[in-house]
Symmetry: D2
Amino acid sequence: MDLNCDMGESYGRFQVGADAELWPYVTSANLACGFHGGCPLTIQASVDAALAHGVSVGAHPGYPDLMGFGRREMTMSDAEMYTSMVYQISALRGFLAIKGGVLHHVKLHGALYHRASVDRSVARAVVAAIRDVDPTLCVYTLPESVLAEVAQEAQLAVWREGFADRRYAADGRLLPRTHPKALLQTVAEVEEQVRGLMHEGRVIGEDGRPISMVVDTICLHGDGPNAIAFARAAKAVLDAQRR
Amino acid sequence: MDLNCDMGESYGRFQVGADAELWPYVTSANLACGFHGGCPLTIQASVDAALAHGVSVGAHPGYPDLMGFGRREMTMSDAEMYTSMVYQISALRGFLAIKGGVLHHVKLHGALYHRASVDRSVARAVVAAIRDVDPTLCVYTLPESVLAEVAQEAQLAVWREGFADRRYAADGRLLPRTHPKALLQTVAEVEEQVRGLMHEGRVIGEDGRPISMVVDTICLHGDGPNAIAFARAAKAVLDAQRR
Amino acid sequence: MDLNCDMGESYGRFQVGADAELWPYVTSANLACGFHGGCPLTIQASVDAALAHGVSVGAHPGYPDLMGFGRREMTMSDAEMYTSMVYQISALRGFLAIKGGVLHHVKLHGALYHRASVDRSVARAVVAAIRDVDPTLCVYTLPESVLAEVAQEAQLAVWREGFADRRYAADGRLLPRTHPKALLQTVAEVEEQVRGLMHEGRVIGEDGRPISMVVDTICLHGDGPNAIAFARAAKAVLDAQRR
Amino acid sequence: MDLNCDMGESYGRFQVGADAELWPYVTSANLACGFHGGCPLTIQASVDAALAHGVSVGAHPGYPDLMGFGRREMTMSDAEMYTSMVYQISALRGFLAIKGGVLHHVKLHGALYHRASVDRSVARAVVAAIRDVDPTLCVYTLPESVLAEVAQEAQLAVWREGFADRRYAADGRLLPRTHPKALLQTVAEVEEQVRGLMHEGRVIGEDGRPISMVVDTICLHGDGPNAIAFARAAKAVLDAQRR
């Protein structure tokens, strides 16, 4: 089981996330590519750190909206979306190639992550870009999302993603960030959720009942107040499994 | 002899240059990479057009300054410069690779072009980036510039560049753009300058005396009022040579 | 009757619109404020030109999206929208105040123009900003739009806007730009539409039947191939009325 | 004696500085205006906080360089500089006016602060903008700088600025940030420097000898590891003086 985290989102002197402390706990990193965060200096430093920690590198492209950190929905044409993906993924890939690394996956950022999971037109533009840049890239996305479907049709590998610290509604969807119970609060809750995802293919929904949730990778968040404690807990469950 | 032109500098709906009309007259194109101009849509359209016209594609990276169109000097650290080059060149290269094209060269843009021709520290950061991305890339730069020297030390191919429509001072340097006589005015002047560069390895300086000027590529400008007429004239000299 | 035009949308060396030629034909100008277009240099030049031509100045704020020229829908929170409006309008107003000018109106740009005409939440944030900056500003918007309603509730003056060169559907809405007949093609058509708006309070819809359309200002566009000819025609109708 | 601090430099979700904790310790705040930091949301929140704490508000304009946080030198024309200042100061002033506040001063940011203190052409463009926006604004700058001189010639009030936590060279200039001893390290050092600036009109230079340094305002920095402890110390010296 893969533990992924969005990283490399700082921009110049603007810092985001506790990247330095998180590297030991993740097995793959989704690196911002310059549009919602991630300047060239940050990209290079993040690629170097990932390789030093033996962490798989993915591209984490987003909407071209630094002020909104890619969390604001934007309406882009298919051609704008396709070319924005090619641009971002290629830029990141260039840094990796210099160090002899190989890009492993693509995970969309923020509002675009959610849009592509329900909007077939956006999903198609994104998938076309990924496939054209490198058809061996795999796509991280929600299980049973439109993006998963479109990626599979294009013969791309899909890694279904679960969340270590987000609460699921009874229907298997994530509670929206605005929901008061959207985020798990304690290490125990995170441990239980990771254990469920890892061993049993299910999570406990908001109503207390189990929901089937078979995933290939689990997402940690690097920016909450408990980010490091939660990452450590998730990693401990993962390591226990391996022993 | 190569005829190059800066192209693909439009950004979204902001149009720059008469690209559509210029393609038939150039043999290589320096494509903006998104920092001083050149959005993803424009990059893709420019790569497609270059390939359709059999024109060699170069990267044309610049300072991160859209408002100043890369024509304002900026002080960047070596690491900022290196990573900014890797980012821009890699992004462009991604589009080219999808279409089966191969990046041919790098020509710096605007204020950075001039800075790297005299500043060894900047030249070294730029050359390191080019070499790390692809050591077969060649570098377009002024003859006898610091950048030429540093590039040669790094075993990069250097193409010395002359200008079809800029007037040279008696010492062989370009008259600055602010000089009233900086730009040639007539097709006849352009023809004579191109012929001198192509056949005789010299130009006529501002004082009317010949200056030795051995170059490998001649730059056209795509944005003046006579851009097309000058391009046609330069191409005619080139074609006459070939016959 | 007022003839307005979106102007001052150039950004650095990126030119948009035939501003220089249009000033004689308009009675009010909507000046871009830096987010979708309009850099500080352009704002100052446009303010100067407007005052020199005796043209009323309005703010033309848009989404923070230079690459998309403010024509891409973006989801912003009410607070983001309110503060983005205060920022843009205040910046423009500063230039005007230096020259002793007074800001006359606000007209939203591009995708935001359309969004605020149907989205009450966005309209409220925009209106709150306009009223807080200066309650004597008037708002240019579509007749019977949500923005018109919300502005009137806030005691702001509303100028209903018609279009000189856009075709109206049978229901009184503009045909979308993507519609093949969206734009009028000939000077005669523009003259007839302006005459109808000015004298009869009606336009001819796509189906050939008249639609009631009572407006206070008529919008010209500065960027089409016939922009100047259409502007001249509209101005001629206006001048004939005055005689 | 005034205690000032650069604040409101966060941009969207990118946080900079410990603003929330610093408000109680400062008497004036220099608020970023959107070019090197400071988005509209941040500006509004900072204006509100300043007014709530009874803190004087100044504009803190910088180079248009978000990625470099305004710390990279840029060459701008006088007209670009003048209009960039008008734009930024006016935008900030709009927020303040809505809340009934009055802009108190202008302090330049980062590389521009240093450039204007030695470059007469830049200083003139900046001063012209400040005077044109509001001739009652005062200018914070280094004692005996070119900016101080040019501002005084234009009849602007000048507040000479000292630094609580930066070490001075023997010639009275600040040690550059790259110098190992550039920053004071302990609360005791900061207390002594503030006491010297406040009561004796002198600081102790790097060589241990006193240097005359008569100032009107003392700058705290909000982003170092000891920012709050240093601010508390400086405020304590100030409060002791007042008793």
